[in-house]
Symmetry: C2
Subunit: 129 residues, 2 copies
DNA sequence: CGGGATCCAATGAGATACTG
DNA sequence: CAGTATCTCATTGGATCCCG
């Protein structure tokens, strides 16, 4: 992803600068599981096993990777209670909550335009039979 | 993606219903190229070659696939001017513009919290040296 | 110019088994 | 319970060549 100074006259929406800044967030939001986990945590802290049951369909591997990644980005916290058996709780950080707000905004868009998109697809597929 | 009625007592944020409705949008937004293309088109119609130069880094294959997919979902239009050489313009549909608004909202979030995330990563990586 | 078709490498992600 | 490790397969995506 080497980026070169934009020398185009009609600056193309400064793809060069915006792209790099966006990539991190988009990879986060675009990740199939990250947003689902964040949506769950938006309602309050959850344990590892709670998340695994709630997300339903996620593998242990992916849940762990997703949580690690979110934690690394400072979007969630991981708190261990060293009882036996151990207990681990995950929760959104303040910044994580602000992203969750954006995500829920996207969710509303999805609900409102779901039918439109579904219809557009039927139309398109029919046209290119 | 088989989904089963949720029988859990403490309904887990209805992952079952929300998930399916979300998936389409998230796959769209999460797609590395779709959002970049939409961001460019938010400033007005663009030709195929303009997009390819502007996005910079995208291959012909992916640009074509991205455009087809966006068109299929009714988010952009494709208009051919049968001159020689041919000219093809892409533009956002009204619904596409509403999604572009959401995306630009995400872009603002990215700008505002970019430093935070970068810092969090350095921190995390340092802790787990 | 605006693609379509094909081949191939990299990544993503599920299944399974094992551990403190 | 809350993971880690490995193996494997499916998908993504770049490179290349070709066409109307």
């Amino acid at each position: 992803m080497t980026r070169v100074p934009n020398t185009d006259v009609r600056e193309p929406v400064n793809a060069a600068t915006d792209t790099c800044q966006l990539r991190d967030v988009l990879d986060r939001v675009g990740d199939k599981w990250s947003v689902l986990v964040m949506a769950l945590l938006a309602d309050g802290p959850r344990r590892y096993s709670e998340l695994q049951r709630a997300v339903d369909g996620i593998s242990q591997r992916m849940l762990t990777l997703t949580l690690r990644s979110l934690e690394r980005d400072g979007l969630i916290t991981r708190s261990v209670t060293p009882t036996s058996p151990p207990r681990v709780d995950y929760a959104l950080t303040p910044v994580g909550e602000t992203l969750a707000v954006e995500v829920s905004s996207l969710m509303r868009w999805a609900e409102q335009h779901r039918a439109y998109v579904a219809n557009a697809r039927l139309w398109y597929d029919a046209s290119n039979s």
